[in-house]
Symmetry: D2
Subunit: 295 residues, 4 copies
Amino acid sequence: MMTTLAFVGLGAMGDPMAAHLARHARDHGHRVLVWNRTAAKADAHAQTHGTQSVPLTEIAAADVIFTCLPTSAEVDEIMTALRDRLRPGAVWVDCTSGHPDAAARQADDLNRAGVTFLDAPVSGGTAGAQAGRLTVMVGGDPDALDRVRPHLAFAGKVVHVGGTGAGFSVKAVNNALLGVTLWATGEGLAILGRAGVNLGAALDVINASSGRSNASENLIPQRVLTREFPATFALGLLAKDAGIAVDLTQSVQGSAPVLAQVADLLRGAQRVVGDAEDHTAALKLIESMNDTVLK
Amino acid sequence: MMTTLAFVGLGAMGDPMAAHLARHARDHGHRVLVWNRTAAKADAHAQTHGTQSVPLTEIAAADVIFTCLPTSAEVDEIMTALRDRLRPGAVWVDCTSGHPDAAARQADDLNRAGVTFLDAPVSGGTAGAQAGRLTVMVGGDPDALDRVRPHLAFAGKVVHVGGTGAGFSVKAVNNALLGVTLWATGEGLAILGRAGVNLGAALDVINASSGRSNASENLIPQRVLTREFPATFALGLLAKDAGIAVDLTQSVQGSAPVLAQVADLLRGAQRVVGDAEDHTAALKLIESMNDTVLK
Amino acid sequence: MMTTLAFVGLGAMGDPMAAHLARHARDHGHRVLVWNRTAAKADAHAQTHGTQSVPLTEIAAADVIFTCLPTSAEVDEIMTALRDRLRPGAVWVDCTSGHPDAAARQADDLNRAGVTFLDAPVSGGTAGAQAGRLTVMVGGDPDALDRVRPHLAFAGKVVHVGGTGAGFSVKAVNNALLGVTLWATGEGLAILGRAGVNLGAALDVINASSGRSNASENLIPQRVLTREFPATFALGLLAKDAGIAVDLTQSVQGSAPVLAQVADLLRGAQRVVGDAEDHTAALKLIESMNDTVLK
Amino acid sequence: MMTTLAFVGLGAMGDPMAAHLARHARDHGHRVLVWNRTAAKADAHAQTHGTQSVPLTEIAAADVIFTCLPTSAEVDEIMTALRDRLRPGAVWVDCTSGHPDAAARQADDLNRAGVTFLDAPVSGGTAGAQAGRLTVMVGGDPDALDRVRPHLAFAGKVVHVGGTGAGFSVKAVNNALLGVTLWATGEGLAILGRAGVNLGAALDVINASSGRSNASENLIPQRVLTREFPATFALGLLAKDAGIAVDLTQSVQGSAPVLAQVADLLRGAQRVVGDAEDHTAALKLIESMNDTVLK
């Protein structure tokens, strides 16, 4: 049976994700509608991958709607535009790094239209998106997840982590931990640099030792020590995600002083260094505060 | 030419390290002297591995002296006992997770006796020590390192990271980062747990995502979620090491607010939970502060 | 002209505040309605101070309604119960240490009923309430403030700080600073105590020096060093207020790492020490983390 | 009996302190020797206040030697120059904001020459020094303090706080608390400013409320909101003092995560804003991190 899939938001992540969807659709006789705020990107996607670029309202005809947008606020706008036209029985899979509070509200809203909301943010970066090897963490109804699971063509791993909002919560915590490991490793290297230690050798050791992390193994050697800071994931978005972890702490009345501290330092770095810089450029604030360069 | 090697400090790390030394010595016609505060452990080592258990003063006869003790203070005691008897030209390889300030002083002291000091702490835990796959980070004279390198039989990887004290500095930063990743991941799981998220699933996702670290991949699943907290590396020692990173920050007049906060939280956890508990038991303080259990 | 004043919430703060209102009403020919969840307290207030204890719905008849409740959530409940009966032209003065987000919503809600909302939290503690010397920080329409100003009989000082929510924001920041000064001074005394310094002498010096604060001058000498911890302001409420400052930071996308850290430490102390303990009992967690007693 | 007093270090604090000493000496028939690295300042002091400007070695002839220098390192230099010439029975009163570890060492050193060391740092700033109303916190032998107490002509309050080093420890904690209150109040105002609150009104409220401190009452209104930042106490010195509190925490193996974070943020501000700026200019880093100006 032909299924109509739709993908909204063809950014650095969404564009290759929708390409995997297109490949999957071709293999199984489905079709893929795409929409993007800048229509030219949707048209180009259609041209390149055989998807259909449609007006936003026609997205509502899909059986499965994927959204992948900067924040939950943009998802709200799309949802407002589509809500009254959605097909009962459809599933809305939001791959945005969204907010658990928004998930609760959005799920309620869609539920009234007979549509199921799954929060399904992804991890793996643009490289993972291009390779179709993203990790998808899903909150919401497990049966709905089972129905859409065959269509998660961009995923290398799919994990159901809990009820509505749980996917966004796990993503926020993951990214807060990304922020913590990045920042703390930057601090450690800054003081080692001031002490005259060779930073490449220090990272080599750390990466064979107990203090290693994705930040120390991949991000800092590839992006910071090279001084390249390629802007694939914006500092403003990392600060936003770390802020969602802070909101989660507040919402469960928990105590997470280190996540809290780092979220606010990242926000500060965002102001000093710039929203649109790569997230690893947060370490430029550490460099200023230590009068040193990490190289 | 027969070389006399000596190993002082047959604790959880030193005992298997000295066993690898013994194997190496057998293969190359060297001999290994051992000493331990509790003499019975040295005698047992001699019995099992063919080393020689000797009075402390006889250790001074060695060409290469290895020490692996809890802190630089214990190394100072041994050094005071041996200093006047050491052989000029010998190399003292201190595998303790020591203090950079102590290294400077100890190197000066030994230098006056014609002996070279290398700070050469190790990473890899008791498992790495048993497998002979430790990472050794070495500060001090690179020529002296070249001379002793053939005898580092317990090492999987040896990296020269800088001048005297650089090895201790890198080790302190590595362990501070171990503390940060452990603590921050504990915080993240605590708030996810309060939000009703399945912690095993959350870790599964994080470990396939950008927030992963050695703590999230190995320590927390194996030691915390299992509630085993096997005491292989004491919380008191981790707090000590994180404190050395704080001292280093002070000494270079650097700025490392996250390392600083975590060092003090670990010290607090040590007081609340107990010095001798496994370092992962620091998360029990996070559990109390969040009224939750990480399982 | 007789004005009908109403006071909802006769807790440790509200009871003496409403008493001052009663005195003022007697002097000027007004009347004061009171309501409290536990009706007996309202009846006792009426008996003692000549106010009128009425059913909740009759509160809606007042020209000026004061609320003084634990959190904005309780204000929401009262507002829901009264909204459809309120008198157009009335002013609702919320003295709760409420949430700026709630203020925005509540002001909108009341506006539709022709009622003006002022967020007007107070500072000064139960002593200030009894003396009628509270500081009132007011957000919202300055003309409405001018109309109710003569009735703020419990105030020693009234300051208009900005638009709707500004009063709650300033109160949250004030209480976050209370939390910071309390906690940091506790830390400082803990390490001095471990160093063998006389804590009374140390406080004596600090209070004549640049590090002094209300916490060091009043709270710690009177409540902590005496080991009395009299429960006049609950730790759970201080943690809540510090959390509102965190929410404010998030809402303006600001960077306040120290306020963030302390808010989470206070929340942790609340879990370990107990919600209902006096706010100064937060220092018991510092004591545990330093294995010392502040006395 | 004529006593010879000496004062070394005629900086912004020392110059007026020595002037009070001169007044006291005139009244009681004592004499005052002064020395300063820049001899012209000593000569000018002699001219203006009737003290005697002498070569450094002649300072050793004094019965009571006061030092007031930037750090313990400068005191060490003076002590090395004078040690072999000191009069047995003399008392050395070090008013530097020094280091407890240095105090222990210096006291031992002097003790061998029959001289008693008192660590006696002062608080009150240049205004307090000029008014002769400084608070002096003294560590060391109480009998020695009793002997020199009549000569503390610059003091408004003298408190014996404990053994050798206790004075420096209390001073370090006081200044760390100054740093915390300054920084945290700056954060609070930054987020209130972003929220559109009038900062003067907010401070007015806070200063009548529980979150007030010397920083909120005096420093920020006079130095920050005015944008004057008059350089009377250098940021580099405040960062140094907060660092001494960190060293103290380490030395007693205590837990002070807030003092630790703020010390490192102050050090970072010092790097970004400049060593020689007024300590209140630390808030310029907060301003950058919040893209706002505190005015």
